[in-house]
Symmetry: C2
Subunit: 509 residues, 2 copies
């Protein structure tokens, strides 16, 4: 049933992709370079960008070699399972104690339908399943001064959403009904708008919101005489004060809209499928010590098994994170060096909490999705896999920037305590059911030392373009050098673009 | 990892269920009846209600036997796969030509998290996965007089939703900003409401809606210099006229809210798991010809393999559809007979269209979900399984009542044409990619002859209670005798309730 992993099928698939949504530089239909022109590209970093570059270059008849410092390829496309060892630059060491079949994706864990990532899954034969990114039955929780009487009370997303949207629809419907809008509507449009608001807010006669089945029931409809019984609605002013509505839009944004997907069994299936295709090009455990322009070409000094080696090539593709690049002796221009110094490459930290029992499913009837809180731990993710099983791994925090930097300096057991003491405010079952955890931090992950970059608009116009300009025969390809910062799709797309640039240059030579 | 299918584990699971959401009569903790009191229950119909009754009765030490006229147990909990033969009372006969691994659930195909169905999946060891019931990337399509310039134009759900919600948020924000609301707000609440509307509508400065990334892009963000480029927004009046917003609420209603689930590989896994547990009680191919009160007890005459047989028991549970019951010689009271005659048990029809290629995924980047239309075919469902594969089965219509009755009278090839000629308005690829189909109709399905009943409010107070009243030793258990009409959960809950009533009566005797 699968199209399979062959290059031909792949080109077809990616061809369709580019027609359908416009993203991704088209590489299909390009004639491979003549063997007389064969060139060698040295790729720094065996993550998604590096391996994709090698994979696509091969299709175009261009040789490459990938230098990857870690023992396993994949970069941030990583999945942690039972027995995996997580070592940090600050000396902390964790061994994953999850049960067989449980896992944590410390980096990317989901992708939207429009990302080229999904096309690579098709091409590479990586099975996917829905990632439940939104669940009406999950919780909202805010606490703090000024948040009113609902502060510190968890509520179901469906309750807050139905009530506030109903109450707001009622407000507007009254205004419309009384012709108090600024811009006058035709009589027909007025009727239609009132109809729309009635649908939107589930309004009763007279455009009043009097509760809605959308908020769920106090007693759910059942057999016999058991009709559904609605609970009390929340007060409009109290809902506004609680600020839980600040989370409503989260799953509506274009990067998180339904439906998101994830590989069956862990995100690293993508990396490992790519690694299989480029295994003959991958040099693992290869720590780059110098990166030089060789005029023409590239010269790289690296260390492997304590031995220093030198590699030369015609072109270079640099995919390793700016945090590492900054420390690497290189011949980059002062402009590029300066840019690499200010790329806003930040940390992120994620904890996978294995619980002895899926209390969120068994007690709370939450199957997948996200509870949003204003706690320091932020969002709580329920697993999108292993439903109805015994144990499960929740993501107990997923935080960015300075907050995560601070956390990365603490001991793993303190991070766990941080997750538990916050999470138990939403789920009182936390302590009792806690089994074990992996508290992952990207800033302290050897050879990566950070997670992602989102450029502020000012930098997009100024410094960002410098990352896209080749320096002699060297190119940068990375998610942090794309408009898809923090997404694997950025790595894929940046790599494809770079491959195209090198291909064009080789063909033109 | 699974709790397993044992009775003890099951009781635990269902115990939790009832605490968590209130539905389902609790059967856990009941002491099985003493063997001196052992009774035999005759159950008419081996669907979900009948098999659940037998399964739960057994746990309580009460014997039962199930008479099922069809060759396979399960009733409407059915999955059609390659080679399955679909015969109809009007003589039409279809043999399923789907590829291996493809299927259609002609009856129930999804369930919300709060349904007891999910607890039975846990107890019976039936694996589940998310059913994608909502996808922002699916289409809206309306056509017709008075629907304005957008009539006959498909649009993405995300586009229509973001634009209309943004435009409406802008309208209200202006009114709020100018203090024109009926009920005055405090200064703080006014600020919060404006904030809320800004989030809701993705409003720009001055509370203006100027488009939103939530509607997706004309050119999606990518690598290199490719920033996202927004397309033109739809006009407010044209969107209102198009009436596409009548579909926005569909996936928000309490029965369809995120996240819904479905068994891996087909809905009938539930029925077949139950059937395995009650296999010693199931008499298949047994057509009931008479159902009598035996004063005390029950006497049933049925035909099996051309032979007429008589069975007596202490109690009876009738689960077969009212359409069949109406024709069955019985001793029911005139009141109950009258009620059975007016149960609004209606038809539904569903077509599974196998396509040679998943064009909705490959061309349109729609992975699962539903496109809503005002076409006679109604909703189009994309499969929630087999993503990225070659072929796939879409549901080309799923319609109810008189519209479906009419369709059920037409030949299968005409039903297919009906699906294709409407569906191709949304998906021009339909004809070219069409492979084969199963056009299922419940009204013409032997021994079932209908699909589901929703009682109008007036009947709930008058006739519906008559279905819940035992007549001598006979009880009705069915989804159409519950407040969960059309859902398997109704069958489960009704059966549990009936089991409890019989148990109490046996214990009291």
């Amino acid at each position: 049933m699968r199209l399979g992993g062959g290059a031909l099928a792949g080109l077809t698939a990616l061809g369709l992709m580019s027609r359908a949504s416009g993203q991704g530089v088209p590489l299909n239909g390009l004639t491979p370079v003549d063997s007389s022109k064969r060139k060698k590209v040295i790729i720094l970093g065996g993550g998604i960008a590096g391996m994709t570059a090698a994979y696509e270059l091969e299709k175009l008849g261009i040789d490459s070699v990938i230098l990857e410092p870690r023992a396993k390829a994949g970069g941030r496309c990583m999945t942690i399972r039972k027995g995996d060892v997580v070592e940090e630059t600050n000396g902390f060491r964790q061994v994953c104690q999850f049960d067989e079949g449980q896992f944590l994706n410390p980096g990317p864990t989901r992708f939207p339908q429009w990302h080229v990532t999904i096309d690579y899954c098709r091409e590479l034969g990586v099975d996917i399943h829905p990632f439940v990114n939104f669940n009406e039955n999950a919780f909202l929780y805010t606490e703090g001064d000024g948040l009113g009487p609902l502060s510190g009370k968890r509520m179901r997303i469906r309750e807050a959403k139905a009530d506030l949207r109903g109450q707001v629809a009622e407000l507007l419907a009254k205004v419309v009904d009384q012709d108090k809008l600024d811009e006058p509507l035709t009589a027909e449009d007025k009727e239609r708008l009132l109809d729309f608001l009635t649908y939107e807010g589930d309004l009763s006669r007279g455009y009043r919101y009097t509760g809605s089945e959308r908020r769920g029931f106090k007693v759910w409809p059942g057999g016999g005489t058991q009709e559904g019984e609605l609970g009390e609605t929340y007060r409009f002013d109290e809902l506004l004060q609680s600020e839980v509505w600040k989370f409503f839009h989260r799953a509506n944004e274009y990067e998180y809209q339904a439906q998101m997907y994830t590989p069956v069994g862990g995100m690293d299936n993508i990396a490992q499928a790519l690694a299989k295709h480029v295994s003959d090009k991958l040099i693992l455990g290869a720590r780059v010590k110098e990166f030089r322009h060789a005029n023409p070409g590239i010269r790289v000094v690296y260390e492997q098994d304590g031995e220093e080696k030198t590699l030369t090539g015609d072109y270079g593709i640099v995919t390793i994170p700016p945090t590492i690049l900054r420390k690497l002796p290189n011949d980059f221009s002062p402009m590029l060096k300066n840019t690499l110094n200010i790329v806003p490459f930040q940390n992120s930290a994620k904890i996978g909490l294995q619980f002895k029992r899926r209390f969120w499913e068994e007690d709370d009837r939450i199957f997948g999705g996200v509870s949003w809180t204003n706690l320091p731990t932020g969002e709580l993710f329920y697993p999108s896999t292993g439903f109805l099983g015994k144990k499960g791994v929740m993501v107990g925090y997923y935080i960015y920037g300075p907050k995560s930097d601070e956390l990365s300096r603490t001991k793993p057991e303190d991070r766990i305590e941080f997750a538990l003491k916050n999470g138990e405010k939403v789920h009182p079952q936390y302590r009792k059911e806690f089994d074990n955890a992996i508290a992952f931090s990207w800033a302290t992950t050897p050879h990566i030392e950070g997670c992602l970059a989102h450029f502020p608009p000012a930098m997009i116009k100024t410094f960002y373009p410098l990352l896209l300009k080749p320096e002699q025969e060297t190119y940068i390809a990375a998610s942090w050098a794309s408009h898809l910062g923090g997404w694997q799709a950025g790595a894929f797309e940046s790599a494809r673009l770079t491959v195209k640039k090198i291909y064009d240059r080789v063909q033109a030579a």
